[in-house]
């Protein structure tokens, strides 16, 4: 910080996010001169080395893009490839995939709400410090997270990079009785999630609303995971196959993650806020009720309140998991045959952080010719910068250290997953 007229908010290593990024905000008086969310996480070049691999390897390879949301990668991969091959999955496999995704959402949202984001609201450096004053809260968070992980482990063998997802279905499907073992834990988790909605709604939220274009999947009958039309609050309504016609990525020098925009419009927001605002009517009664009691009704335009929305989605995921377990019957075969056949397929699924797009072209030998992957954080990246341009201006009179922390918190509203986005976080607030 130098002089009175301006300053720089600078965070070299953004904490409590997945992956490596930095934030740099240059202020000229009350005005924000420049915002750069710099993603310096080294590029890993997945889309390049997927070429020449067999399509059956794509779910295992793309899972390695992200250790926090491997299932999202596996689901977008299998659905895109199934479309390329023109194969249809068993309805019970579809149900099991929903349960698999519920596990990842519970694990990921519990981690973010309590361990990565709540410490900002309560003024702690981390959850460990928070545990000293709020041990019961943290213990509840850990149990909730563990239940999500148990679902993933039961279906997928392990929490991180599970091994059962396959093109056409699963390598092995669980018995009905194995899934039933989850019921008592999930009943506890449902109650704990409702309490989480209440608890998060008592936090202090800055007065900050933005006009976002929300983008999410929408399905006629259910809150979205793997299927549906891609819709937005500005009237977009497309199939996954049209994604690249309507969205485009561009490369900025300060980031190893590509920026995404809606063609002809600009930045947009994906993730819990978008899903909630566009699919409120598809939430089960228990989740809708919890949201309304917490004073949350669509459209929610304050990104800081996404912590409550994540809690509402925890309620949804627990209720949905219980529904699926009640309806599940093991499919006749764990997967349908996936033949080597040339084709192109696209899919969008709802990762915990928002929509994840995959496209594959495969040849007659089943080998991948081209692959394209657009992760949620890459799509939110420009929107995060746009938020900070507004928010940092509001903080112009704040002491630098506090302003910096608030800006970090604003970034964490997006639960950014930088490892994903580079196939991205540090904060710098400059005032000069």
């Amino acid at each position: 910080m130098s002089g009175r007229g301006g300053r720089t908010i600078k965070v070299d290593t953004l904490a409590r996010v997945e992956g490596e990024g930095a934030l740099y905000i240059k202020m000229a008086g009350d005005r924000v001169a420049d915002v750069k969310l710099r993603i310096y996480e080294p590029p890993r070049l997945f889309e390049a080395f997927l070429r020449g691999r067999h399509f059956s390897e794509a779910p295992d390879i793309t899972a390695r893009i992200c250790g926090i949301c491997p299932i999202a990668y596996q689901m977008s991969a299998v659905h895109a490839i199934e479309r390329a091959l023109g194969i249809r999955i068993d309805p019970q496999v579809r149900l099991l995939r929903r349960l698999f995704y519920c596990g990842e959402w519970i694990e990921s949202h519990a981690l973010h709400v309590y361990m990565l984001h709540a410490p900002d609201f309560l003024g702690y450096q981390d959850v460990i410090e928070m545990a000293k004053d709020h041990r019961e809260v943290v213990e509840k968070a850990l149990r909730l997270k563990k239940i999500g992980n148990r679902i993933v482990q039961l279906i997928g063998g392990r929490e991180i990079h599970p091994i059962s997802a396959a093109v056409g279905g699963f390598y092995k499907t669980p018995s009905k009785s194995r899934l039933r073992e989850l019921v008592s834990d999930l009943e506890w988790a449902l109650e704990a999630s409702i309490e989480t909605v209440r608890w998060t709604s008592t936090l202090q939220f800055p007065d900050f609303e933005q006009d976002y274009e929300f983008v999410a999947l929408r399905h006629p009958e259910e809150y979205p995971f793997n299927e549906g039309r891609l819709v937005s609050s500005q009237g977009l309504d497309i199939d996954a196959a049209e994604y690249e016609d309507r969205f485009t990525e561009f490369h900025v020098k300060h980031s190893n993650a590509l920026h995404s925009v809606v063609r002809g419009r600009g930045s947009y927001l994906v993730g819990p806020l978008a899903r909630f605002n566009l699919n409120f009517d598809k939430l089960p009664e228990v989740a809708r009720k919890a949201a309304l009691e917490a004073g949350l009704r669509p459209p929610v335009k304050n990104p800081f309140r996404s912590i409550i929305v994540r809690a509402v989605e925890l309620v949804f995921a627990c209720a949905e998991a219980l529904r699926v377990i009640g309806e599940y019957e093991p499919p006749a075969a764990p997967r349908v045959t996936a033949p080597n056949r040339a084709g192109v397929g696209q899919a969008v699924t709802e990762a915990p952080r928002g929509i994840l797009y995959h496209r594959y072209a495969v040849d007659d030998n089943g080998l991948i010719v081209t692959a394209k992957i657009v992760p949620p954080t890459s799509q939110n990246q420009k929107r995060i910068e746009d938020d900070l341009r507004e928010y940092a201006a509001q903080l112009a009179a704040w002491p630098l250290e506090e302003a910096t922390w608030k800006c970090e918190q604003a970034v964490r509203c997006y639960d950014p997953c930088i490892s994903c986005a580079t196939h991205f976080l540090k904060v710098v607030l400059q005032r000069d």
């Binding site: 904490a15 409590r16 490596e20 080395f49 981390d126 149990r143």
Partner: protein, 276 residues
Amino acid sequence: MSSESKHKNKGNPKARSKARPRPTIGVFKFASCDGCQLSLLDAEDELLAVVGAVEIAYFPEATRTMLKGPYDIGLVEGSITTHHDAERIQEVRRKCKTLITIGACATAGGIQALRNWKDADEFVSVVYASPQFISTLKLSTPIAEHVPVDFELRGCPINKYQLIELITATLAGRKPNIPTYSVCMECKRKAAVCIAVARGIACLGPATQAGCGALCPSYDRGCYGCYGPMETPNTASLTSQFRILGQTDDQVSRAFRSFNAWAWQFRRASEECKRS
């Protein structure tokens, strides 16, 4: 100067207790998916006990507190893929009394080492519109190719119980109980029927180090080698077996070239089957 050294405890309003010095741990990330360090947060039952026994001095995924070193134990995740990271690992090594690498990226270069057989510049141009903005090395290499490493914990991802055993053993000054035998031993212990023998499924289990609990075979699929080569793998014999099962040279080569492709035993096996 790397980012770690620039960072101090930024205005910590609730300073950590300083009653008794505990061993300090730093967690450092290079090119990776974050999954291995997440294993620590995934140890839900043990996490509060672990943080009671050690001081988390640097772990950006979990905390804003970033203490300068030195650290008693450094856990390093990820592979070296940029000039900057090649320099940063030297500094991390200097600051850590014991340096432990965790996961396939840090111990073998990871899946991103697939570039090592290709033209990295062409790879960058496939992914990025403006390749000139991207700085990357031609090879993705394990940490031990750059600095001395005290222990390598394998797996993609690592097994969280092995990680806790390793931290506990390091703090106690004893040898960690981490087996170097093959996945086959884990199948035998589970009294599982061998899927390679009984069902003709190509399985990397005989050449792969144990640690996962023989997961893939118990889910009706062949091991794909995510724990990397076992101590003395007979990859030539396994290659022959894969051929008997009808696998093409390309398929065998791809099998060895996944998450531990650059581990020398797998690397050699993947190259030999293409040559013969």
